[in-house]
């Protein structure tokens, strides 16, 4: 709340005899309001929104806000500098600062390259307050400024962006070792390797750096990851590890010589580092199940067409074979049937022939039974004439008619009846024009 406005004009004096319970009496009520839309803009609106959404009153909100702020201050105070100090580190000689871990000296070893400048400054201040030589002197230890120098050196390196980068380049504490085979057997491939690449990503000139991802990453993501890392653009440099630092006292040639030597050494280390990263990637990709899977999938897609074509060919061949077999079978069956038919025909013909023979015997027998239509013993001429007619009729009529005739004659014993049958037959034949009238001699008489 802002400071209240001060109104110079005076309030009313209390009239005589004004009384009320608790010195206040309420008379009216507010005369309505309009609903309007606030513009959702500005810090005061955000405060309003916070109150409205959390259903807080003004004072509650103020208190909670104040609390949150207070907590934040505390966090700022002691979050990063709570690391215990290693007595070995405290005893370090400031002269070999090249070997010292600057982050650890400032108590920032869990932040390392992620530490912000702000954090470094605060950490430095905190350490200085603790290890200032004057404080040591007050405690009776004079000339004990060794660790203080370490702190100053660490701050000097870490607050200078160029020097800090050089130190970060060779800060092995921040590296994550690639997982061994044993670890990989037990642990999660993606998590183990992911941590390695997360730590390596700090050297990238290009951000954001694609990460390893997990089992569900798409093929594109995985390819993108490997492409990026195989052409990794690193800012890592190795000046920090220079063995000789040329100083101004040396002569020019000497200096150049040292510089050349250093440059060569750096180049060599850089090449080694690139090779190291390449090996990391080779190792990782060799164990990467996703790559295998993608390759299989790709192969499967490629082979799919070929397999389909082969299957189609095979099917066609089988179909042709089946058709051929079916045709052969049909032909064979037809042949057998024809053969059977032929035999059946032959049998029927023979049977018919036999029947005709039998019928003819019946015909001939009938005239013999009728005693050749002669009374008493028939003369050979009569017999001959009757038999001649029988032969004639038999020769003129079809086997069916012979059978019909035979069935009519069969069983007849009386000569007249037999004769009338024969006579009717002879007349039918004459009627049909198959036999001429004169040819039949015995039956017409």
């Amino acid at each position: 709340m802002a400071t209240p406005i001060v109104v110079p004009t005076p309030l009313l004096a209390l009239p005589e005899g004004w009384t009320a319970e608790k010195d206040i009496k309420t008379v009216g009520k507010l005369s309505g309001a309009t609903q309007r839309t606030l513009e959702p803009v500005g810090p005061y609106f955000l405060a309003h929104a916070r109150r409205a959404r959390h259903k807080r009153t003004f004072s509650e909100d103020d208190r909670i806000q104040a609390q949150e702020r207070a907590k934040k201050v505390e966090n700022d105070e002691d979050s990063e500098i709570s690391e215990p100090e290693d007595p070995m580190m405290l005893a370090r000689d400031a002269k070999d600062w090249k070997q010292q871990d600057h982050y650890k000296v400032l108590g920032l070893s869990k932040y390392r390259w992620k530490a912000t400048e702000e954090q470094i400054k605060r950490a430095h201040r905190k350490k200085v307050l603790k290890h200032h030589p004057d404080k040591k002197a007050a405690a009776g230890r004079t000339d004990d400024d060794n660790f203080f120098k370490c702190i100053q050196k660490a701050t000097e390196v870490l607050l200078d962006p160029i020097k800090r980068r050089q130190f970060d380049s060779v800060d092995e504490e921040a590296d994550v070792e690639p997982p061994t085979k044993k670890q990989l057997q037990k642990g999660n491939f993606y998590k183990l390797w992911g941590n390695v690449f997360k730590s390596e990503a700090r050297f990238s000139k290009i951000h954001p750096v694609p990460m390893l991802g997990d089992d569900k990453s798409t093929r594109e993501e995985v390819e993108n990851f490997y492409n990026f890392w195989y052409s990794f653009d690193s800012w890592r440099s190795f000046e920090y590890l220079d063995e000789d630092v040329p100083d101004d006292n040396e002569n020019r040639d000497q200096k150049r010589h040292t510089e050349r030597k250093n440059a060569n050494a750096r180049k060599k280390k850089k090449a080694e580092d690139n090779a190291r990263l390449r090996k990391l990637l080779d190792d990782c990709s060799a164990g990467d199940e996703r790559i295998k899977r993608f390759r299989q999938e790709a192969n499967a897609a490629k082979n799919k067409k070929r397999l389909e074509r082969e299957a189609a060919e095979k099917k066609a061949a089988e179909d042709a074979k089946a058709a051929k077999e079916a045709a052969e079978k049909a032909a064979k069956e037809a042949e057998e049937k024809a053969k059977a038919d032929r035999e059946a025909n032959k049998k029927a013909k023979e049977a018919a022939k036999n029947a005709v023979k039998k019928n003819k015997r019946v015909l001939r027998g009938s005239v013999k039974d009728a005693n050749y239509f002669a009374e008493g013993d028939a003369s050979p001429a009569t017999i001959d004439a009757v038999l001649g007619d029988v032969e004639l009729i038999q020769g003129k009529i079809e086997p069916e008619e012979i059978a019909a005739l035979a069935s009519k004659l069969n069983g007849l014993k009386v000569a007249d009846e037999i004769k009338s049958v024969w006579k009717a037959e002879a007349e039918r034949l004459i009627g049909a024009g198959k036999i001429k009238e004169g040819e039949i001699k015995a039956f017409t008489a």
Binding site: M1, A2, P4, I5, V6, V7, P8, T9, P10, L11, L12, A13, L14, P15, W18, A20, K22, D23, I24, K25, T26, V27, G28, K29, L30, S31, G32, A33, T34, Q35, R36, T37, L38, E39, P40, V41, G42, P43, Y44, F45, L46, H48, A49, R50, R51, A52, R53, T57, F58
Partner: protein
């Protein structure tokens, strides 16, 4: 911002954008202070123009230059087409650039944006144009900041409808930009002023006159301790920067023809017209700064060069109709809000045309002396009017950049933004020097509830027992006519006051004695009475009024510095 691109708060780099119909600008915040970014050409006002030459894309000032030589492949004034059907757009301003076309109801432009000589011109929808343009803006901002800009707050006019907003969001998302929030332009301007460290949190009525190239928008805003409620708005498409350009163009074209009677009218050929317009704009800008400006165009018409000068007085006389139109617009919107010019505490001039000194001085004539006119020519501490929107947007962006997209959505939801506003002021009764009862406002009208205000009121001189009388109050305008005026029109009434006021802007002051108009508080319903006993001599009484969301009121009062006090509650 449903279904749109969202970025995790920790990965955000935010900017504020004004994406105007004529010009756009970009701002970001350093240490809670907004700064406007210059693009690679060094422009802080970046013309909202895209141009294609041989497949190369140009934007901003470079593209603007191509309006002369390559108008057909230059797209300008397209912002207002976003989210509109072809039927509902006003293509007037596109006369001298690529023309909008109707492609299946969507507004599109046909431009050659490919490098090949004989490539077919492509049809590009207005949202695609906006996306390309925004991409360039974001690119410039990213280059300037050295970080990829991921998110922005964009300002929009108050009359942008949901469809237009959705189209703008879609265009921004397509340009790979997360839109944290769309805020209205006048409120952004108000926020830019209120965020200055020297600004005080107070209750005031602000008029924001947003005078742009192709449109003028005026809004009346109730600013209640930093919470803004728009009470009324008005929009105008006649009285704008382009109209002023037109006046200068006509003026110089006539002068050119006077000097070269045989030459053709430069307004009748496209290139001559474009040259005139380009130079007229520059001259207009120069006239906002200096009292004289030159105008010179090479080969204006028929190969004849033309050079001339104009002074500010001449320009102001010529542009009178436009200025008067703007005055009327401002007055009408105040009336629409149910207020009077006397109620206005602050006038913010925003937009490119707001640089014009005459507009600001006209405003100081309309409004009473006590009203602050925030324009460069009237107030040395004024912020550049062209940058207000972008600054406000950048400030808002820095305020909400730590919020999850969801959180922003919920906080800007109608359930949170729609609240009751008091219709009358709540205050206490006090005595003026003449011993009359007067109203001292504690909670002004149009205050969003819940609200809590505290004032310190002096006790009677001798101290003793004090009566604190809580009342409602409202204002009316008291007009005192000048005493002896037999000749004057006697029918001038309160309602005509605004008109007579306006007339006086351009008439000589000594011709008629002005009416005296003042804002008077009227004491309304009594809400409660409370007594404070035995106040010290020369003491003060603290009065606190808290209006709750359900319109119940808690009244507390006590002597400043003393314990205890009196407390009462009014039910809704």
């Amino acid at each position: 911002m449903s279904g749109a691109k969202s970025v995790a708060p920790e990965n955000r780099t935010v900017i504020g954008l004004t994406f105007g119909n004529s010009n756009s600008s970009i701002a970001y915040t350093v240490d809670d202070k907004a700064e406007v970014i210059a693009n690679e050409d060094g422009d802080r006002q970046i013309p909202t123009i895209l141009s294609y030459v041989d497949g190369d894309e140009y934007y901003g000032q470079q593209a603007k230059a191509f309006l002369i030589r390559n108008p057909n492949n230059t797209v300008a004034y397209f912002r207002d087409f976003l989210g509109k059907d072809f039927e509902h757009i006003d293509p007037t301003h596109n006369h001298a650039s690529a023309h909008p076309k109707d492609v299946d109801g969507a507004v599109s432009f046909t431009i050659k944006d490919k490098a090949e000589e004989d490539a077919e011109p492509s049809t590009v929808s207005v949202s695609e144009v906006a996306t390309r343009y925004l991409r360039r803006l974001v690119g410039s901002a990213s280059d300037y900041l050295g970080k990829k800009v991921t998110s922005a707050v964009i300002t929009v006019p108050t009359n942008f409808n949901d469809k237009q907003k959705a189209a703008l969001l879609a265009a921004a998302n397509a340009a790979d930009l997360e839109v944290l929030q769309l805020i209205s332009e006048p409120v952004a301007a108000a926020l830019a002023y209120d965020a200055r460290p020297e600004a005080q949190v107070e209750d005031k009525i602000v008029v924001v006159a947003e005078l742009g190239g192709t449109r003028s928008d005026v809004a009346v805003i109730a600013s209640r301790q930093g919470m803004y409620t728009v009470l009324a708005t008005a929009h105008d498409y006649e009285f704008n920067g382009v109209a002023l350009d037109k006046i200068l163009m006509d003026h110089f074209a006539k002068e050119f023809l006077k000097r070269n009677p045989s030459a053709k009218d430069p307004r009748e050929n496209a290139r001559g017209l474009a040259k005139l317009k380009f130079e007229a704009e520059a001259t207009k800008r120069a006239l906002s700064i200096g009292a004289n400006a030159s105008f010179s165009v090479e080969s204006l018409s028929d190969g004849i060069d033309f050079a001339s000068t104009i002074n500010r007085l001449r320009y102001e006389t010529l542009s009178r109709t436009v200025f008067e139109g703007i005055n009327r617009l401002v007055e009408s919107v105040i009336k629409k809000a149910g207020l009077d010019v006397l109620d206005v505490d602050e006038v913010i001039l925003s937009g490119g045309t707001a640089h014009t000194p005459r507009i600001a001085s006209n405003f100081s004539n309309i409004f009473p002396q006590t009203t602050r006119i925030l324009a460069p020519s009237t107030n040395p501490y004024a912020i550049n009017p062209s940058e207000l929107g972008a600054r406000g947007a950048a400030l808002q962006a820095s305020l909400i950049q730590d919020y999850e997209a969801d959180d922003i959505d919920q906080s800007t939801h109608a359930a949170v933004t729609t609240v009751a506003h008091t219709s009358n002021a709540i205050g206490v009764v006090s005595l003026n020097a003449a011993g009359e009862e007067i109203f001292v406002p504690v909670v002004p009208a149009e205050t969003a509830v819940p609200a809590k205000r505290t004032v310190h009121v002096a006790a009677p001189k001798d101290g003793g027992d004090v009566l604190v009388k809580f009342v409602e109050g409202n204002t009316h305008i008291k007009v005192t006519k000048p005493e002896p005026k037999p000749k004057e029109d006697k029918t001038a009434k309160v309602e005509d006051a605004a008109d007579s006021d306006e007339e006086s802007d351009f008439s000589d002051d000594d011709e008629e004695e002005e009416e005296k108009r003042e804002k008077v508080w009227k004491i309304g319903n009594t809400l409660a009475e409370a007594a404070i006993r035995n106040v010290k001599k020369g003491g003060k009484v603290e009065v606190t009024v808290q209006v709750n969301a359900d319109l119940s009121v808690i009244l507390t009062t006590r002597e400043v510095g003393a314990q205890g006090g009196v407390r009462g509650q009014l039910n809704a």
